[in-house]
Assembly symmetry: C2
Homo-oligomer: 259 residues x 2
Amino acid sequence: MNEQPLILICNDDGVEAPGLRYLIESVADMGHVIAVAPSEPRSGQSAAITVNSPLRIKRCEDIAGAEVYAVTGTHVDCVKLAMHTVLADRKVSVMLSGINHGSNAGNCVVYSGTMGAAFEACMIGIPAIGFSLLHHSWKADFSQCGRFVRKITRAVLENGLPAGVCLNVNIPAKCIPKGIKTVKSSEGYWTEEYVDYKDPQGKPFYFLSGQFVDRDANNEATDNYWLDREYVTVVPVRPDPTASDLIPSIGAMLGEECQ
Amino acid sequence: MNEQPLILICNDDGVEAPGLRYLIESVADMGHVIAVAPSEPRSGQSAAITVNSPLRIKRCEDIAGAEVYAVTGTHVDCVKLAMHTVLADRKVSVMLSGINHGSNAGNCVVYSGTMGAAFEACMIGIPAIGFSLLHHSWKADFSQCGRFVRKITRAVLENGLPAGVCLNVNIPAKCIPKGIKTVKSSEGYWTEEYVDYKDPQGKPFYFLSGQFVDRDANNEATDNYWLDREYVTVVPVRPDPTASDLIPSIGAMLGEECQ
């Protein structure tokens, strides 16, 4: 029992999300699985942490033999508090985040709670993988995800990942994926970001909406290009955003000394 | 009037934060300044966006001749909603975030709302700079920050920044900084992350705490090294976390095709 891999599973859609259940079921036979997820959905919360409120963690019903816990904070809090409580700093073999209901390809990775949780595990030194299905519905069909989840998780359990790097995996919906492409995030922007409303008093309010415009739509080095063509995409990502290649030129622009 | 630079200022400590006021005052004569900040503090919220609640924006009292607005969302919402409403997609010359009450050096950059807002501006194509003072207090002394804020802002107004890159500037507290160092983020981890409590019913709850352990404490290529030595540090950072250098090796590990 002690030689089984210890697999930590988190997500940002919350402990009730079907994607969490599917992820647990997909890897239940690959190790000892412990899932720690937010008690409420936390989509779009990036790597947010709870700094000024207390947190609680409570045991929920097991899923496929895995212990499941709910935390009253963010997905990043889940990783941190799991290490502090139920895992008691035991060595985790791999951390899996998701399966997210919706894409985390392209610029979405910046806002992604799924990847925020993976970033946290990565910074602790745990090999981490975020999985996302390109379908927002709570009733999304995850049935094509399992073999890719298992293949990628197995590869990481066997080979590890370079220090400071985790994986952002996106899975196309409503198709039988044709294979895996390891690529970079596509770059784009949103237009028509808000829908404008008036309240009964005539005062304006706004809801986030928006259309993603992919500047890399024809760039086959990018994730959205291959997702559109029914491939699973893997982007290796670093939580540390330092642009090391630009340190000399920015330094020259600012001057090493300013006095 | 139209030829003045248009300067957008945001923060994550909220519209009432002294650091926001100080930042506005520091650059008030450098252009037409518009500040849009969260109505409540949003520290540690990374690049979080509000996806399922309506947002409002309201005009507050001017500061040093600058229009000031409060948004009922996150710092990232502030940037997006500023573009949608008060700026109406006008061309912004530079976006400044902060001055944050507390460090965003080392791994803190991942959780930083100050930098989350700068990331958003950067992804829209606006040259962006996040400023943080290494002092959490609401009564922190910002008086040494002004000349560095002005020098770095002026350099970016004159030279721009490479596409997809923004600056993470940290300023040491309680000293007269000796100069500027352009470096990378130091890498570390937190220990003793939580303080454990029992509620009156004897049930546990937890508050985030923690000590940062700097693995790069003796590495003079890193920000915390120079902040300890009373220098202002500048780290060029990319919102896009793709680890492009590792795409070939991760691709080889996973196989290009999985069928």
